[in-house]
Each structure stands twice: as C-alpha cells, then as structure tokens.
C-alpha cells in the first residue's frame, strides 16, 4: 500500500534521477527550446524533496498536493508548472487517504494527466509530456483491476517508455519547440523524456 513514506521515497527517487539526467535534459531542451529543463526539473524535485522530507502529514493526497505547491513556487517554467499541476490534481484525487490501493494510484495518474492536459491545452499526439502521461494513466487503470501494485508499477513503467518512444515520431505543436515544427520529427521531446524519467522513478518505489 502506497502511503506518505512511500510518497516521500518517490519524490526522492525522482529527484535523484533528475540530478543524474540533468545535463542530458539541458542538452535535449537546448536543441528545441531554451535549455533550462535540466535545471528546472532539478529545482522542482530537490525543493519538494527537501521541504517535505520532514513532513508529519499522513494524508497522502494532501502530501502530494503540497509537493505540487512547492514545485509551482520553485520552478515557474512550462514543465515546472505542468508537473506541479499534475501533483496538485493527482493529490486532490487521493484526498483523505492515508494508504492507497492500486485503484487509487490509477486515479492519481488519471487526475495527473487530465490536469496537465487542461492546464497546457496539449492533446495526445502533440509531442509533449502528455504523450507519456496519458498512456500511463490508461495503463494504470487497466492494471489496477489486477489489484497488484507490482503489476501497476510494471505497467506504468512500460507505458512511459513506449509513450516516450512514440512521441519521437510526432511533430511539436506546443511550447518553444513548436517553432521548429517539422524539424522536430524524429527527435526526442525533452518534456516526454523528463516525464518518462519521473514515472520510472515513481514506479521503482511502488509496492
């Protein structure tokens, strides 16, 4: 069952993977954007990890909402805002829960993906973070019926990787990369890569 201590572990795991991939994200974002993605993702998750590591909150939903708020303050770039929105909306879906079952995790990713789509107005296929989040939400919903957290973890990890892979062939229609349009086809989308890293790290603590 996923509780606040696992949620803390998840934030920490995401932080580590962002720090590890900092330069790679900068490089990817420099090719089609302003190059800050490695910096903002580190800032968002380092701040959330640091500020919430000592939290005494037991409500998983409230805890994840607070994580989102922290990210919104610390990283006001596109991905910072979108990921913050995802955590806030996902957290809202888990409000009043101290321990989450697979169905709750599915609800979290559904609200996360919907929130990002509402905020950013991107749809699946536009070559953004959404192309990772939406398949993850769908996979989590399907896997949840198994009632097994490991199955959910494996499903979202798999969906994130496939989503990132699929997004390569798409054309950027949102954010700074949209300026390059056709030229982005075949290149990885920086936000999708960051999203996949986040999901992988999250999945690694789910049990």
């Amino acid at each position: 069952m996923f509780d606040v201590s696992q949620a803390k572990a998840a934030l920490h795991a995401v932080r580590l993977t962002m720090e590890e991939n900092r330069d790679r994200l900068i490089e990817l974002d420099s090719a089609v954007g302003d190059g800050d993605l490695g910096l903002t993702m580190c800032k968002a998750f380092v701040t959330a990890d640091q500020e919430l590591a000592g939290s005494s909150e037991t409500d998983v939903g409230k805890f994840l909402m607070q994580a989102g708020m922290t990210m919104a303050k610390s990283a006001p770039s596109t991905m910072g805002t979108l990921v913050a929105t995802g955590f806030m909306r996902g957290g809202k879906a888990l409000k009043d829960k101290t321990a989450c079952a697979p169905a709750d995790i599915a609800a979290f990713f559904r609200a996360f993906s919907d929130g990002v789509m509402e905020r950013g107005k991107a749809k699946p296929g536009n070559k953004t973070l959404v192309d990772v989040l939406e398949p993850v939400a769908v996979a989590a919903e399907e896997a949840a019926s198994s009632g097994d957290m490991d199955t959910v973890a494996a499903a979202i990890r798999d969906a994130a990787r496939k989503g990132e892979e699929a997004s390569r062939g798409m054309m950027s229609e949102h954010g700074r990369a949209a300026i390059y349009r056709e030229q982005t086809i075949g290149k990885p989308d920086p936000g999708a890569v960051a999203g996949r890293l986040m999901i992988e790290a999250f999945a690694s603590v789910l049990k």
Binding site: A72, T81, K121
Partner: protein
C-alpha cells in the same frame, strides 16, 4: 559582445525592481516580501475591481509600468522573458482584491497562461473571484480565423487603458471584463525588427538578423515573423505592415482610430515619427480618421532595434475610456 550596464546578470531583475521601488515609493510597493509582487502603493482599493497583469521582464514599461492611477493595481514580475510563478500572481491577487474581484489581463504566452490559470484556481480556493482576459493582437503570429493563437504585444496597452478607466468608474467585474474583451477585439499590431537582443543571463544573442536584413512580424522574444528580407525604406516597411493590419479587422473608411507607434528598445523616436508620417498618409488615403497618437516605448524587448504599429478602432464608449487621465511612474496622460 554583451555591452550592458549590469552588476551580476542573475541579479538583473531584482536590482531593477529595487531601483524602481526606490525611485517611486509614493506610487508602488511590493508585497509578500517578494520584490516580484508589485502593487500600487495605495492597494487594495475597496469597492474597485482589482486589475492585475504579469509577464516576463525585459519589456519595460510592460508590465509593471502600467500599475498606477487609471490603469492597473498589481503585477507579477517574471525573470527576463519568463513567466512569473502562479504563487506570485496569487500574492498580487490577494493584495489588490478590494472585494469586487480581480481581472487578470495578460499576453497570450503559454507560460503566462498556465500560471495565471493556476493562480485563478488557487484564488478560487480562497474565495477571491478572478476572471481573465488574454490579449493577443499580433497579426503576424497567426492568420485570421486563428485569432486565439495570436501573441499579445504592444496593443495590450489599449486593453489596460480602457479596462483601467472602466474599473475606476466603479463598474463590476463582468462589466470591466466586457470592456477588456471589446478593447482587445478592436486592436491589431504588427512589428518589425532589425536586431536581436541579449538576455543578461544568457550573455549572447538568442537569434541573429543579418547585416542589412529586417524581419517583419517578429515577436518581442524573437519569435519568427512573416517575412525576412533586405531592409527597405521606412515608407515601404510601413506600407507592408499596414497592409497586414488594415484588412484584418478590417479598418474601413469612416472609422476613427488611435495609433500606437511603439519603439522596441533601441530605435530613436526620430525614426518612429518618420514612420508615423507614412502611417498618417495611409490612414488619410483610406478615409480613416485619427483621434490620438501615442509615440514612444510602450512594450519593448530590451535593446532590440525595431518598432511596432498598433491600430485601435474606437467607438464612443472606448474613446471616452481612452480619454480618461492616468498616472503611473512610466505613463502619464492628462484627460484628453
């Protein structure tokens, strides 16, 4: 080569804000212990709809320069060419809410949209009613029919001005929003640039324009325009710009308009007036009369060389609001 008056590039925005606040303490203050949350010194104004804006730095007098009497109540200030955060917008919202709700007026950039939307959600949780008007009038940024994709540039001045005057009359939030929408629907802008800019923290030009080249329709962050080509005469440039603006609304014989000739940063006023000479000629030929002409810097892009033309179609209501006095540290107007 970056040739600017700077201390540490990272401190640029905050030092600028310190300068502004120490120069104009009677008119502006910051709230929430955050220099980037700027409001009128006399905020909140009870019984008045609060008007807030926000956006990246590097565009003075946009955005905070329009905070003051007859205009806006507050502004969230971002890094150079970056959106401020939703939490900063929320702090501004709290500080200017006089009990009648708050209207956000800002430019159509995705970062600003997302953050203002998030701030709206947060303000809702605190029971502050917030509405938004997203300005986008750069005809070069998306074709007719896709107006919702257009970037907001200098023409937002007219939206601020009319909405600000309306709010001062004591109108309610829906009514002020109606005016913002109406003003926004009546303005069109197009720009032309001759040189790129250097963001202090970046230290080198973020794009290039060749010697002897110009780009018509370039955005205020260097977004691509509609045509890059050899520099033409002032008259030819203005003709091409007006050919984009006039059919778009369209502006027609018998219309009355206000014109805003906006310098992007490094272009001398002398050249803006040389350009206006041709604008006046074109309008007069079309039978369009001009009520009030603004010439100067209203929405800049650091030291970019270039200018934009905004044309604002008037009716009695908008004209009356435009004519009202206003006073901020960056813009003063006596009653027209």
């Amino acid at each position: 080569m970056m040739k600017k008056f700077l201390n540490k590039p990272e401190a640029f925005v905050d030092e600028m804000l310190q300068g502004i606040l120490s120069a104009h303490p009677d008119q502006l203050k910051h709230v929430a212990d955050d220099l980037r949350c700027i409001v009128r010194a006399d905020a909140p104004k009870p019984g008045k709809v609060g008007l807030a804006t926000g956006g990246g730095s590097g565009h003075l007098p946009l955005f905070l320069g329009y905070v003051g009497k007859g205009l806006l109540d507050g502004c969230a200030v971002g890094g150079v060419f970056q959106s401020p955060g939703a939490d900063q917008m929320l702090e501004v919202t709290r500080a200017i809410d006089g009990g009648k709700g708050v209207l956000y007026i800002y430019g159509n950039y995705s970062g600003d949209r997302m953050n203002f939307d998030m701030a709206t959600e947060m303000a809702d949780m605190e029971e502050i009613r917030v509405e938004s008007y997203v300005a986008g009038e750069d005809v070069a940024s998306a074709p007719k029919g896709e107006e919702h994709k257009r970037r907001g540039v200098a023409g937002i001045f007219y939206v601020y001005k009319c909405a600000g005057a309306k709010a001062d009359e004591g109108a309610d939030l829906d009514e002020v929003k109606r005016i913002a929408e109406k003003a926004g629907a009546n303005v069109r802008t197009i720009g032309v640039a001759l040189s790129p800019v250097i963001v202090p923290e970046v230290g080198r030009p973020s794009f290039t324009i060749g010697d002897g080249e110009m780009e018509i329709g370039m955005g205020i962050h260097g977004e691509p325009g509609i045509r890059r080509g050899s520099l033409m005469t002032a008259d030819e440039v203005v003709q091409e710009m007006m050919d984009q603006i006039l059919p778009d609304l369209p502006y027609e014989s018998g219309d009355e308009v206000s014109v805003l000739m906006n310098g992007l940063g490094a272009t001398p006023k002398e050249e803006l007036y040389v350009a206006y000479r041709k604008v006046a000629e074109i309008l007069s030929e079309k039978g369009i009369s001009v009520f009030k002409v603004y010439v100067g810097e209203f929405a800049t892009s650091l030291e970019m060389t270039g200018f934009s033309i905004s044309v604002f179609k008037l009716d009695d209501e908008l004209k009356g609001l435009l004519a009202k006095p206003a006073c901020t540290p960056f813009f003063e107007q006596v009653e027209l």
